[in-house]
Symmetry: none
Subunit: 193 residues, 4 copies
DNA sequence: TATGAATGAGTGTTCATTCAT
DNA sequence: GATGAATGAACACTCATTCAT
């Protein structure tokens, strides 16, 4: 019974994850999940109290760690003078571990969370990073935020893309490094001297 | 009556566009569109055979021009030796014109096409551009495509972001230039010598 | 095993009773009953063939005795001339015993029988008593039944209210007496001389 | 169109009223209402935004007037010394008008509001009246509230019963008077001297 | 022709009941 | 025999689509 419950839970979570990743939260119906998982709609409710809870089961842990990261980032300043920008936090072991461990949760939060309580997490992250980057740019105020938003989003989406396509930690690490190189250099081109 | 019909069509398209962009395709009901456009739901169906059709009406032209651009791009090589990379095509008057003229259609294709016949357009564009960029990178083959995809996507999303937030052609142009500067420099960091 | 079964039956009945009285029949699920009783849902069906059956198990005895009382009452006349009205039957030891012994079954019949085979018992009792009271009233025929129904219902609901709120036989008895006093005097005011 | 809407609204309200009165709010499904009214489930939502709203449409006005009455009653004291008890408020023209005008709304609130926002109105009224009556009774404190609750409930249920069965204002009035006579005299029997 | 009333399939959710283990 | 997993019909509610007027 314990076995079964765990097994069914796992099967349901796994199929839900696939569908949510493919189609997004709103466009995935419990009917679909039930069919893919080979159970009835009613059975879904033996393991999860609602569709939302099912989604959160797949994302809560990632969201919590992401929020913690955000809090830490908020306190830091992005100082070009130091030579190291704090978005290089993405190279820290701690963050990379999180990225690897929370891979699918992060993907769901970043790409398919519309209609859930996490739908503002990605925009929030982008805005926060953009607010750090904007003052550094050698561009009139009006446009610096726009460009900073693009940069912030690119960085975040780049990380997500790597996560999506690389399973091995060393590959993730190596490509994150390259992404940061690309991103740093790109930003440099528009920095105030 | 022809006049009237044309006028209604236009009003409907315009309101649908706003709503699709603001709330997304799924979360916009025909009721909302009809109300905003000041016509009856029945009239919607006199002008458009379905909700999907209405979406295509708003995107077909942009999609066609985008596809044409894709075809032309496919033929070109991105040669770092020339000093000018062909993704700088985004600076050409022709492309900028298209971006400005098809602005909203492009935004819809890029952000709301999931589940429609254009859902592969953005990924297709990214793949194509990535395929051009990848061979230029000083990275092992396995990873170069991954990074190239990130770069291509960043470029495209950056263009979309500018389109979304700048109404004046000269602002669009100026920021596109900065985006390309950022992007080129970023790529340079990973180019083969 | 017989013992066990009997024990489980008893526990289930007891918890079902509590829940039905507290939350009502409809708002009580078999899940709740099973949990409170510490048995599985399957076991519920070993003892009772359905939720309705469970309800009847809790009410059949009370219903039978109530019906018997009804039959006896039907034969009697409520004669004001005797000085004792037969609704004072509620003061008889026999009836009080029944009230106390069938307390919860009666409460269920009186308050939760909608949709069950006993849904007509309370109205039936009221009608019967009303039919006895009506001819005694110094009111035109048309209205005497209406008033008699009110009186009958008040009496019955009053008894039910006492049963619900007093556990000790002597308290029940004392309050029944007061209720009858109140009721008798009230009726007196409208009696034919 | 206006005509139709009004007509359908009326038909739906009327059938809903019947069903709610017969079966209660919870046990009446929109399916039933739709069938009885000869419209589809979807059509219900053209006129009413939800099942609850449909119920409130039938009861809001009555509830508001009832609450107003409650507020006024709360301020009054039930003084046996005056010879007139304030529950004789039920004889005032104003109250009788309300009873007649809000007949069905009151019946719904008083008998079938379980599961709605008005489910506590009847118990609240009874408690309030009981609190006024209890101190007047020549019974130990412990039991006086119990008896007062019975009396209060009887009075209210009696009014409801009359309402349910008499359509003509003069019949309602006449029977209310008799009910009050019955009730007053009944209470007298237990009053402190 | 234009309208909006009407529909019905679909959504998430609950729960009495059944049945393999 | 006992369990609880599994079901399926029902619930309130939404919405693209159709069609009588």
């Amino acid at each position: 019974m314990q076995d079964w419950k765990e097994e069914a839970r796992h099967k349901i979570l796994s199929e839900a994850q696939h569908l949510f990743l493919e189609r997004g939260y709103d466009r995935t119906s419990l009917q679909m999940i039930a069919e893919k998982a080979g159970v009835s709609k009613g059975s879904l409710y033996r393991c999860f109290t609602s569709k939302e809870e099912l989604f959160y089961e797949l994302t809560d842990s990632a969201a919590a760690r992401l929020k913690a990261l955000l809090v830490r980032l908020r306190g830091k300043r992005f100082d070009p003078a130091t030579g190291r920008r704090e978005y290089q936090i993405f190279e820290s072991e701690e963050v990379i571990s999180m990225l690897l461990e929370e891979k699918y949760g992060l993907l769901l939060i970043m790409e398919q969370a519309q209609g859930t309580r996490y739908e503002d997490l990605r925009p929030g992250m982008i805005d926060m990073m953009a607010a750090k980057i904007a003052p550094m740019l050698a561009v009139d105020e009006e446009n610096s935020l726009l460009l900073a938003q693009i940069m912030a989003r690119n960085l975040i989406d780049g990380v997500v893309h790597i996560l999506k396509n690389r399973l091995q930690p060393r590959d993730v690490r190596a490509n994150l490094q390259r992404l940061l190189e690309y991103h740093t250099r790109g930003i440099d081109s528009l920095l105030k001297k």
